[in-house]
């Protein structure tokens, strides 16, 4: 199992969502993808995308406008 980190801080729509999807496509089943960003809408939409693809969200943290979403591929 490997961990893939995606940094989308400062990026706006649709980059965080697209970069998350690109990382998930490259990840192997069981890998963990961690997306960090500051775009508020993406914090809601990345979990929405994961749900429609049947992927599990391990955790969402937010601190002073910077969020971190952990996804299990």
């Amino acid at each position: 199992m490997t961990t893939i980190e995606v940094d989308t801080r400062g990026e706006t729509c649709p980059v965080p969502l697209v970069e998350c999807r690109k990382a998930l496509r490259k990840a192997a089943p069981g890998d963990e993808v961690i997306v960090t960003g500051t775009h508020p809408a993406s914090k809601k939409e990345i979990p929405m995308a994961c749900e429609s693809m049947g992927l599990e969200i391990i955790g969402i943290d937010e601190e002073s406008g910077e969020w971190k979403i952990r996804i299990k591929r």
């Binding site: 706006t12 729509c13 649709p14 980059v15 969502l17 697209v18 690109k22």
Partner: protein, 139 residues
Amino acid sequence: MSNKTVIIVHSGDMDKLYSALIIANGSLSMGMEASLYFTFWGLERLKKGGLEKGPLSKMNFLGLGKWMVKGRMKKANVAPLEKMMTDFKELGGKIIACEMTMEIMGIKQEQLRTEWIDEYGAVGTYVHEAKDAEITLFI
């Protein structure tokens, strides 16, 4: 899988091309399939060096308005169309070029970014592509 978005890119305006590519990339990111059918003025943007050439659909003011909007977009860190297109292709997005438009406008295949184009087709190709799509738009 019928979980698909198909967009007719009829306009070559910069802002409308942004809308089409953002929706298409959003669809791919949500786990759907996505196809873009380029026709009429949209097809002009598939020409070599043509992607960023389109004017604004409103308030272009001979390019001054577009220049101002581009400045604002840069400040807001909006990705360039070239990146959106590269991402679209990387995520498995499909591009169809309208053959009838190519004939009307005298556009030859070698004038286009053929590396992006998956298929050349007419109305039948669009209908075939869109008949099982959940989202289909005309932009």
